[in-house]
Amino acid sequence: MRRALFAITGLAASTTALVVLKGSPGATQVAQNLPTAQPVNPSGPGVDPSADPAAPAADPTGAAPKPSGTADAPTSPKPTKSSTTRPSGTKTTAKAPTAPKTTTKAPQSTTRRVTGPTVDTAEDYGYVQVQIVVSGNKIIDAVTLSLPSGGESDIHSGDVRNKYNGTGGEVVQKQSANLNTVSGATATSNAYKQSLRAAIEQAF
């Protein structure tokens, strides 16, 4: 029992330590280096992390620390945000093979992936980018390549993701961009719909 108390104390102490270490800005270099490594992407610096050429390559290699960082990248805020703010509607077309799920260039035959533009949410929360998978003339899946993240945004983004995305999500059910707004996440919902609408227009 003494060891259990020791373990529980350790759990509490290490959780606190981790949160405190992350909470103080500049305390750690590791996490800061990861996002800043992404703007090497020439097409849209920092805006569209999934377009980072490292992302598709990360999947097969499966090396531990870096891919896990890049896999999470869409949910992490972009340090270069203010300087690269782009108006909504910028078409970043045909990014088909970049999504983590795809098998590079195979799906050209029956299913297509269409990526919507990166849309800035109101109130400066972050960016939303939607990608839909189209089979024939039906949407069969929807994924978000980026969503606002950090602090409060995580939870709203999670709600939006849960409602809209996936093979059983609202996008697939409704087959249109007329989605119900997620309560408490109006800005994110609207940005989502905007990106989705553009993707649908482009696909059909």
């Binding site: 529980i8 949160v19 531990a64 896990s68 992490s76 983590p100 950090g150 709203h156 709600d159």
Partner: protein, 473 residues
């Protein structure tokens, strides 16, 4: 009762006793087993720690420094960390109870049970803090009360209902394992409750992947986490189904005879096929399942009370409950399903050349088996309340002669002056002057074990030389 006999030191070494029945110990004394060091245990402990760090790593890498500015964000982050830790610890818990022979061999059943207990308590705390931190954090973010947040999570979040159910089950399992509560419950009830932990694994699975901030996205982290689950399930299947099946198909154990050792103690002799190839050490135990209409559904751990001899196995059992009472009526020929051997309470785990063994009551059974394999020169203190409680004395006397072992029978209640004096640090040192340089093996009722460990520590015996046999699980 009022005048218990107190033979403080009835030493019997080398007494000639030719009457040791046709059935007592092995015809040829088995060889002394080679030592097994602590290397395997340390390696495994290190691996588990590395795994713990790796399970928190995705959070660390995925969270930008300085992003936890608000209280809500900080609380949510703490909830995520505890969630990842809880998810990992749950897998470790199940893995440790998978009965994998590697684990039993490297760590040993007794040690595993102790780890399982400590990690179990930690896991419960981790899960509860994960739940409450996330609830408080999310409620703050959505600007609603914690109760309303519970409603939101249950109503709008996929897989969250089952996660709440899993937490409830875990709470029940956790509290039923608190020592005081557990003692009040019949073993069977407790065991059934504990079995429902598998539901926790199943019900808790979904929400980690639909909502886990580090796991919902396809990628190496998610793949790795799923692989971990598959690994644990494979270990479970192997340790609990495939390996026992192979063991029992190979050895085909059956009851040969049931013999009364004392009014409330029986010995069950088992025979089978290919027993010569059975690798087993004296002091180890099996989990036994006797395939009769009343007993087949429960399995109980009992030590083997004689070292491996290639012809038969024997377990000696004190009749204390309903199950053990049923064992008295076993018919010869009854099939027996055994799972083992396990345990590190063996001569192979000694760290010194000589040993002191302390047995209390029916705790003599593993020690009796081990005596056959210990290097000569061991000493045995056998505590019993009355002379009638002394078991297997004829075999012990025979072993004392054969293996050059000193045996003291210490009879009397715990409060009698004789046993009290003897079980004190000074008494032990007087009896066994080199006690601090011996391995000490203890098996008996908890009170005796606790008291002896305290006395031994004060007599200068290092902790790593003290070996305990516990059958917690």
């Amino acid at each position: 009762m009022t005048h218990s006999h107190t033979h403080a030191a009835g030493r019997r070494t080398g007494t000639t006793s030719s009457r040791h029945g046709g059935r007592s110990a092995a015809p040829v004394p088995p060889q002394i087993p080679a030592r097994r060091g602590p290397g395997g245990r340390r390696l495994l402990a290190a691996l588990l720690l590395v795994g713990l760090l790796a399970s928190v790593l995705p959070w660390w890498l995925g969270t930008p420094a300085g992003s936890l500015r608000t209280t809500a964000a900080t609380v949510t982050a703490a909830g995520r960390i505890t969630g990842l830790i809880a998810g990992y610890l749950l897998l470790v818990q199940v893995l440790m109870m998978s009965r994998l022979s590697v684990l039993e061999r490297w760590i040993g059943g007794e040690q595993l049970a102790r780890w399982h207990r400590d990690i179990g308590a930690t896991l419960l705390v981790a899960v509860l803090s994960h739940l409450s931190l996330i609830l408080v954090g999310y409620a703050d973010l959505r600007n609603q009360s914690v109760l309303a947040e519970v409603g939101t999570l249950l109503g709008d979040y996929e897989d969250m209902l089952s996660a709440f159910v899993a937490t409830g089950i875990m709470l029940v399992v956790g509290f039923s394992s608190v020592r005081a509560i557990r003692r009040a419950l019949p073993y069977e009830v407790w065991h059934l409750l504990h079995r429902s932990s598998y539901l926790v694994l199943l019900l808790g699975y979904g929400h980690q992947f639909t909502h886990g901030a580090q796991l919902y996205k396809p990628g190496p982290v998610r793949t790795g986490w799923i692989a971990l689950y598959l690994l644990v399930v494979a270990a479970l299947l192997w340790g609990r189904v495939i390996a026992p099946l192979a063991f029992n198909l190979r050895y085909r154990l059956r009851v040969a005879d049931v013999v009364a050792e004392s009014p409330d103690t029986i010995s069950i002799y088992l025979t089978g096929e290919r027993l010569g190839r059975l690798e087993m050490l004296g002091g180890q135990y099996f989990r036994w399942r006797f395939l009769t209409p009343g007993c087949w559904w429960q399995s109980h751990p009992f030590s083997v009370s004689a070292a491996a001899n290639g012809r038969w196995l024997r377990l000696t059992v004190k009749v204390v409950g309903r199950h053990t009472a049923d064992l008295r009526d076993l018919e010869p020929g009854t099939r027996v399903w055994a799972h083992g051997p396990s345990g590190t309470f063996t001569a192979a785990h000694r760290v010194r050349e000589r040993a002191l063994l302390i047995a209390g009551g029916s705790g003599i059974t593993p020690i009796r088996a081990m005596l056959e394999e210990l290097p000569p020169g061991a000493a045995l203190i056998y505590r019993a309340r009355t002379p009638a409680d002394v078991l297997l004395s004829r075999e012990l006397d025979w072993l004392a002669q054969e293996r050059d072992t000193s045996i003291w029978y210490v009879i009397g209640s715990r409060d009698d002056p004789g046993p009290r004096q003897l079980m004190s640090p000074d008494g032990l040192r007087q009896l066994v002057p080199d006690v601090a340089r011996r391995d000490v093996y203890l098996c008996g009722p908890p009170g005796l074990v606790e008291q002896s460990v305290r006395a031994l520590r004060r007599a200068g015996v290092p902790r790593r030389q003290i070996h305990l046999a516990t059958f917690e699980l």
